[in-house]
């Protein structure tokens, strides 16, 4: 029986926005709106969605980089806010932009060694050994330890970012668009590296990406987000073979050449994604949905099973099941 590593229940995070210098009205960006999910130990949980759907905010709230407004985040059954430092250091993150996420004034060695120094209790030699081991693990030469980030290419920097995330033997890593800033040939190197490390160290990943091909390659299960909500969760293969939510269908069909591979009709969405400040009432997707009925703009759909381990939030699915 697999073990649940991370459980998120009804998580909410709204960011306040001001409407103008003199207006008193204040709005909120509904970045993460009532999200529940669970991640099993050892799996890769993919999170896809377009920009502005809240996938990065969700990851930041889970790791506590941004405080949550309400909801529960349980790591191994304990609320993350109650964990001590040693336990918290098991949850790590790899960031999107390898050009911005490394301190340019710090040598690679110090960047990777920092977690050990903060934790304390390691001798100089021990730290040195650990750092060099990590460099080996991510495929960088040991001689690079004394260089600065600007001396490296994007792919190498991302390897440094991964080495940093691997310090202190983590169990759970959130990869926030780790390859979106990289070229195709480098992207493959990093994806393979992440996979190898996962096997070797038994890690659990939450993998965020807007690239549906990449997510399919790395993930065991995938959640699709739209405007702060998860609208569909499923095993990876099942999601691509049998997308249930109209948004997932549109998203998949928008991949160039998708109709050939996936045997789905091309659905061209109209308009842009609505502002997350005033998301539409009812189903968030109703303003762009091709099949929207009256109920869709009135009542918010709940997650319902559509297959084994496959859930989607859409009113029309219930109708189908009933009728």
């Amino acid at each position: 029986m697999s073990e649940t590593l991370l459980e998120v229940k009804n998580l909410k995070k709204y960011f306040p926005v001001k409407h103008g210098m003199f207006s008193s009205g204040k709005g909120f960006v509904h970045a993460v709106d009532d999200i529940s999910l669970s991640v099993e130990k050892g799996e890769t949980f993919g999170l896809v969605g377009e920009s502005g759907c809240g996938k990065s905010s969700l990851s930041r709230v889970i790791l506590g980089l941004v405080p949550r407004d309400s909801g529960e985040i349980l790591y191994k059954g304990k609320d993350v806010s109650t964990l001590d430092r040693a336990q918290r250091s098991k949850m790590r993150m790899v960031f999107q932009n390898p050009f911005a996420s490394l301190n340019p004034k710090e040598r690679v060695f110090d960047t990777i060694a920092e977690p050990y120094r903060i934790a304390g209790g390691y001798s100089r030699e021990q730290i040195r050994e650990e750092v060099l081991k990590l460099l080996d693990l991510v495929g960088l030469s040991r001689g690079y330890a004394n260089r600065y980030p600007h001396e490296f290419s994007g792919g190498q920097r991302q390897r440094i970012g991964i080495a940093r995330a691997l310090a202190m033997n983590p169990e759970f890593i959130i990869c926030d668009e780790p390859v979106s800033a990289l070229d195709v040939s480098i992207q493959a190197q990093i994806l393979n590296l992440l996979r190898d490390i996962q096997k070797e160290l038994g890690l659990t990943y939450v993998f965020i990406s807007h690239n549906l091909g990449v997510v399919k390659y790395v993930s065991d299960r995938i959640a699709v987000m739209y405007l702060g909500k998860i609208i569909e969760v499923s095993k990876a293969a099942d999601l691509y073979a049998n997308p249930s939510h109209p948004y997932t269908q549109a998203l998949l069909s928008a991949i160039p050449g998708a109709s050939e591979y996936l045997h789905i009709d091309r659905v061209l969405l109209k308009d842009d994604i609505p502002s997350p400040v005033n998301p539409p009432a009812g189903c968030r997707f109703c303003t762009r949905c091709l099949y929207a009925k009256e109920i869709c703009s009135q009542e918010e759909p709940q997650m319902q099973p559509v297959g084994e381990g496959h859930y989607a939030a859409c009113h029309l699915l219930r109708k189908e099941a009933e009728g």
Binding site: V184, S185, I186, Q189, A258, I273
Partner: protein, 330 residues
């Protein structure tokens, strides 16, 4: 024989200062017919953007075309004065840039930027220009043209700005449109909209399109013919069918195998080791030899020429003939 829309012959574009020069693009040779979509793919540093800027005559300072010719409908563009080039640019050849929001001027309304091009190139009244601008906005699928016409770029979304860019580019009915990574900054659903729009404009106005991108899926979906570039050189040029059914260059093969595919669940992606070399430090022979797993001795010393291995399929590789016979389909 009919003159092709654009004929690029052996163009070498270099960055030079007093002491040295480095080639960013070398040996670029292709033709484009009216109504054709040509895709140029490559990773960053492959010279694809510099190739397009060479055609537009918009090279950065220190960048010059050292040799070669670019003929647009029989007219040589290399060496044209700025004044001459200005008459062609925007009127005959237009360009769409990568960052739609950045490439529009933030302090002018969309309308004034649209009218500017029309007024500069054609003798029309302001009213007429406005009418045509609004028509153009309608053509590119903007739902409320009057509102967008009066808006500033920062008030619009990325997808909307890219539509405006396309409207500006098409406003004088050019025959050639260069789109440099037109959807890289946009989401997939918006990308699909923009690609559809480009295809439509090709059908409607019969423009030739050069589509520059790093995304092989996009060219597979859009382009009639494709050029694969690496380190400033053309590695392979072929029709879409040829390139995707039997790529002959190791680089193309590796690239295709390193993309996670939707229709297969591969255990492991193919790795092309190493990174793109710096243009100041290109290997002597084939530019790809340092990363090529099929490289032989002469690949390191001798620069391979672009040869036609079958009609319309050109490859720059010493071992092209071998790979073609093996039929290493991806």
């Amino acid at each position: 024989m009919k003159e092709p829309l654009l004929q690029v012959q052996d163009v070498r574009m270099v960055f030079r200062n007093k002491k040295q020069e480095f080639a960013a693009v070398d040996g670029l040779t292709f033709q484009l017919e009216q109504g054709e979509i040509l895709g140029i793919v490559g990773e960053s540093g492959s010279g694809k953007t510099m190739a397009s800027l060479s055609i537009m005559g918009l090279l950065p300072e220190q960048g010059v075309i050292a040799s070669g010719s670019i003929r647009y409908r029989g007219r040589e563009l290399v060496g044209l004065s700025d004044k001459e080039m200005c008459k062609i640019r925007g009127k005959e050849i237009s360009m769409i840039f990568q960052e739609p929001i950045m490439s529009l001027d933030q302090v002018f309304t969309v309308g004034s930027q649209l009218m500017e091009g029309i007024l500069a190139h054609e003798k029309v009244s302001k009213e007429e220009a406005k009418k045509r601008s609004l028509d153009m906005l309608r053509t590119v699928g903007i739902p409320s043209p009057e509102r967008v016409f009066a808006s500033y770029p920062f008030e619009l979304s990325g997808g909307m700005c890219q539509r405006v860019m396309i409207a500006i580019a098409l406003s004088c009915h050019p025959r050639l449109l260069i789109a440099d990574e037109p959807t890289t900054a946009l989401d997939v659903t918006v990308q699909a909209q923009i690609m559809d729009l480009l295809r439509q404009s090709r059908d409607q106005f019969d423009v030739g399109i050069i589509l520059i991108t790093h995304d092989l899926d996009v060219v597979k979906d859009m382009a009639d013919r494709i050029i694969v570039m690496y380190g400033g050189n053309m590695m392979e040029m072929a029709s879409r069918e040829q390139l995707f059914s039997h790529p002959c260059h190791s680089y193309t093969q590796g690239l295709l195998r390193s993309i996670p595919r939707l229709d297969a669940s591969e255990e492991r992606l193919f790795n092309i080791e190493g990174t793109v070399p710096d243009i100041r430090n290109m290997p002597a022979g084939c530019h790809f030899c340092t990363r090529c797993w099929n490289a032989q001795e002469r690949c390191h010393t001798e620069h391979p020429a672009l040869v036609e291995v079958e009609p319309g399929h050109f490859v720059a590789c010493h071992r092209a003939e071998e790979f073609r016979k093996e039929g290493t389909a991806v």
